[in-house]
């Protein structure tokens, strides 16, 4: 386990990188919705249609992964600054990891089903 542990500087790099990458990904995601009138963009057919475009699927999946990593790491940062004890910290790390994986898995499930892969 210990060898798997990332240095904080590496985590910080990942945090910054996921932040920047998700900016681009989200930008495209939103653009997709702005190319048609806003109201229509949310209709079931349009949304599902999007899910059948493989590039869009990859885009969505990467947004999901990037933001989950970035966001939950952000949460971890805040929580370990709040209270310090080995127990609290490992609990936090594990919980955050589980939630992160959970959200990614749950989102991926949506993508997989909706895209009919």
């Amino acid at each position: 386990m210990a060898s798997l542990r990332l240095r904080e500087s590496q985590i910080t790099k990942i945090h910054y990188l996921t932040g920047i990458l998700s900016l681009f990904a989200v930008a495209i995601h939103i653009l997709f919705r702005l190319i048609m009138p806003f109201g229509q963009s949310l209709s079931y057919e349009n949304v599902v249609a999007n899910y059948h475009n493989i590039f869009y699927v990859i885009l969505l999946e990467s947004i999901l992964v990037l933001i989950s990593i970035h966001g939950f790491n952000g949460l971890r940062i805040i929580l370990i600054e709040l209270k310090q004890s080995p127990k609290w910290e490992s609990t936090i790390t594990i919980l955050v990891l589980i939630s992160m994986i959970g959200v990614i898995a749950y989102g991926t499930r949506t993508i997989v089903i909706a895209s009919g892969l």
Binding site: I11, I80, E81
Partner: protein, 260 residues
């Protein structure tokens, strides 16, 4: 000017003695002030003529020893460096520095703060030149230009008053975080060309509660009375550690005597 002659202000001083389970409270004192009266002067006036039991730490009275940090009207400040006339207020509230364990009244415990500093290995390490002079007949100094000195000089003038430590929001919740003072000292030695220790300090601060717990809140630099700008040192150090900026210090070598 004449109404300034007998001007008085009210000093509200935080009082408590933790070992005695005193409940904390504020005592109020009237003190005469002049144009140049500092908060320290006023407190010492109280101590001499009103209540000798007020606990304060002080020494140099010229902002160079770092003893007299306290929260004055809500802001961490040096008592000897804050003139009452500057505060533009008739009530001066003195409280102990936040984020330090309290001993008594305005006196706080600095042991943890000092040990953070010590953990940074704040001394020159050099594997090429012996730092301790062995041969006393061969005395040469390191060669450093003005530019070399300017890289670290600013951070050298930290008087360890702890004001930055008490203003930092991370320190407020994380006692393991070294704090702006210690981290800026780590940068001071990293930036000094006489030090060529590679990455030892990086390893010390690249920890879960290390340098990355600074989020550039900048409050440390806001309160620093000496222009140290710890926030700057810390961010520069982060840049070096991320590999996003190069530490462009020149490794100093000993001067050769005959090139004068």
């Amino acid at each position: 000017m004449s109404n300034e002659e007998n001007k008085k202000v009210q000093l509200k001083v935080y009082r408590t003695n933790y070992n005695k389970d005193d409940s904390s409270h504020y005592d109020k004192f009237e003190v005469p002030v002049k144009r140049w009266t500092t908060v320290l002067d006023a407190l010492l006036h109280v101590k001499s003529y009103s209540d000798s039991s007020v606990g304060i730490r002080y020494s140099c009275r010229m902002a160079s020893c770092g003893s007299c940090g306290m929260k004055i009207n809500g802001k961490p400040s040096l008592a000897c460096y804050t003139k009452i006339s500057e505060l533009k207020d008739d009530v001066i509230v003195c409280e102990p520095l936040p984020n330090f364990p309290r001993i008594r009244d305005l006196v706080s415990d600095f042991s943890q703060f000092f040990s953070h500093h010590k953990n940074m290995k704040p001394f020159i390490q050099n594997d090429k030149v012996s730092v301790d002079i062995d041969d006393k007949s061969d005395l040469v100094e390191f060669e450093q230009t003005h530019e070399d000195v300017d890289k670290y000089l600013q951070f050298s003038y930290c008087i360890r008053c702890g004001l930055c430590y008490s203003a930092c929001p991370t320190v407020a919740t994380d006692p393991k975080f070294p704090g702006p003072q210690a981290l800026s000292q780590a940068y001071r030695y990293e930036a000094d060309g006489r030090d060529n220790s590679k990455k030892t300090r990086f390893n010390i601060i690249d920890e879960r509660h290390g340098i990355w717990r600074c989020h550039f809140a900048g409050s440390c630099s806001v309160v620093c009375p000496k222009g140290v700008d710890p926030a700057l040192g810390i961010q520069l150090l982060k840049g070096h550690m991320l590999g996003l900026s190069k530490n462009n210090k020149k490794i100093s070598t000993l001067r050769t005597k005959n090139n004068e």
